[in-house]
């Protein structure tokens, strides 16, 4: 598997002439929280893939919904079965851009505030979102962090009235990715 990965790696590296501008991760972290009066629902996903083009600011994420892990097994089952319907829509994707990528100095250590705009696709629905975040550079390593919130009904995810007081309509999402150079 590792070998295959390296082969793929070199092929894709060759295919992209400007590969040195591209950083990626396969172990990015996305978490979400739903805080209601009755119950706190949170889940982590540590297997998020993301690619960032440090020159153009283009940013993509692919999040496998089945890789979200919950405190309770039943929550996980219901999340996949009843809410995001992960067998029908296995992935959530984000395709967008850091609009002020030029303000990030990738050579100098520091945290740079950025604005991200793009399309989030989940549960078969695509919506344009924008969010504030930060890109930090430390000893050449690039990482990105962002916190934003989405509304479940924007993505056609309905909460039955029976559990209405346990699940919040607004979901807070945290993204934390540490990128590796592509070449």
């Amino acid at each position: 598997m590792k070998k295959l990965f390296f082969v793929a790696f070199f092929i894709s590296a060759a295919a992209f002439a400007n590969a040195q501008n591209i950083v990626f991760t396969k172990t990015g972290k996305v978490s979400f929280y739903s805080r209601s009066k009755v119950e706190k629902v949170e889940a982590d996903n540590n297997e998020v893939s993301s690619i960032l083009n440090t020159q153009s600011g283009e940013l993509v994420f692919a999040v496998l919904l089945k890789s979200f892990h919950f405190e309770r097994a039943l929550m996980e089952e219901h999340f996949n079965e009843n809410y995001v319907e992960s067998s029908k829509f296995p992935k959530a994707t984000f395709k967008g851009k850091i609009t002020n990528i030029t303000s990030v100095n990738f050579i100098k250590d520091g945290a740079y505030p950025v604005t991200v705009e793009g399309e989030l696709t989940m549960h078969g629905v695509t919506k344009t979102i924008s969010s504030n975040g930060s890109v930090s550079v430390k000893a050449g390593k690039i990482s990105a962090f962002s916190k934003f919130s989405i509304k479940l009904k924007d993505y056609n995810i309905s909460i039955p009235s029976l559990v209405g007081d346990k699940i919040s309509e607004d979901i807070d999402i945290t993204v934390d990715c540490k990128y590796e150079p592509k070449s």
Binding site: A8, F16, V60, R72, A73, E77, N82, P160, V163, K166
Partner: protein, 283 residues
């Protein structure tokens, strides 16, 4: 985005099929599901009397047998459980192990799931004849089942359950100690939180001992139909069944009711899960 897709295709991850059924019981018997690791599942099951007993018995609701059970998931593959039934004052215990899990990708994709369940049942009614020498082991019966299941689609799951029941002691030489049965069952999902289930056990005419019958005298095959209703942490199962007992030996081999003659028991199972161990911390 294309790059991400290409890479995720190369890195194939095992993708196990989940939620073939809503809970670890189909109706009377086991489904392919287990309680997840670290989850305690409290099961309260009732079977009322037969609906054809008329208004005098309030269509069976005047009588009730029940089973109280506790299941626990030791790992994602192994589950154990204990229970007590009012019927025959039975105690029962079982172990259930997932041998194969249905999966789409990975190095060993499998179209089916296979589990094995073994249970032991202890009848604690007073001895019929206390004057003779009675052995503790005479109270025991055992059941072994293989469950082979497939989730065909979101809406349809089916399973077959080859089963074997052994009685340590039976009342006469012509009555079999070993009984073989084949079960079939499945569910059709009517909505996200509601499904229609059916379960049937056919006692097979196999007798390896000459002179023995293949089934207990006066018994019929067990048939049950019902609905699963899921509400957050609970699963309610409402059903109609021809069986009175809720342990393997009782419904597979000791069913006396004939479903099509109206010997139908209304019944329900309530399952409530409690998370004992945080799933994420184990990893």
């Amino acid at each position: 985005m294309k790059m991400l897709d290409d890479e995720s295709k190369k890195e194939k991850k095992k993708d196990y099929t989940t939620a073939t059924f809503k809970t670890s019981r189909l109706i009377n018997g086991h489904s392919i599901e287990n309680a997840a690791a670290g989850v305690l599942d409290l099961k309260i099951s009732h079977r009322f009397g037969m609906v054809n007993k008329g208004a005098y018995e309030f269509f069976g609701l005047d009588q009730a047998t029940m089973r109280l059970g506790l299941d626990y998931g030791i790992s994602n593959r192994l589950m154990i459980g204990i229970g007590h039934s009012t019927y025959q004052k039975q105690y029962d215990a079982f172990g259930k192990f997932k041998i194969i899990r249905q999966s789409k990708s990975g190095s060993w994709p499998s179209p089916i799931s296979v589990s094995a369940v073994s249970s032991v049942m202890l009848n604690t009614l007073k001895w019929e004849d206390p004057s003779r020498k009675n052995f503790y082991t005479s109270r025991l019966a055992f059941a072994h089942q293989l469950i082979i299941a497939r989730k065909f689609s979101e809406g349809l799951s089916l399973q077959v359950m080859p089963s074997f029941v052994h009685y340590n002691i039976v009342a006469a030489v012509t009555i079999p100690n070993d009984i073989y049965a084949m079960g079939v069952g499945g569910r059709i999902k009517l909505s996200k939180r509601l499904s229609f289930n059916a379960e049937y056990y056919h006692v097979l005419s196999i007798s390896l001992v000459p002179g023995e019958d293949y089934r207990l005298p006066g018994t019929k095959n067990s048939l049950a139909v019902g609905f699963d209703i899921e509400t957050g942490g609970h699963v309610f199962q409402l059903h109609f069944t021809s069986s009175t007992g809720m342990t393997e030996k009782t419904f597979i081999t000791e069913t006396t009711g004939d479903f099509f003659k109206g010997d139908i028991h209304f019944g329900f199972n309530v399952s409530r899960v409690f998370t004992i161990k945080d799933k994420r911390k184990k990893k």
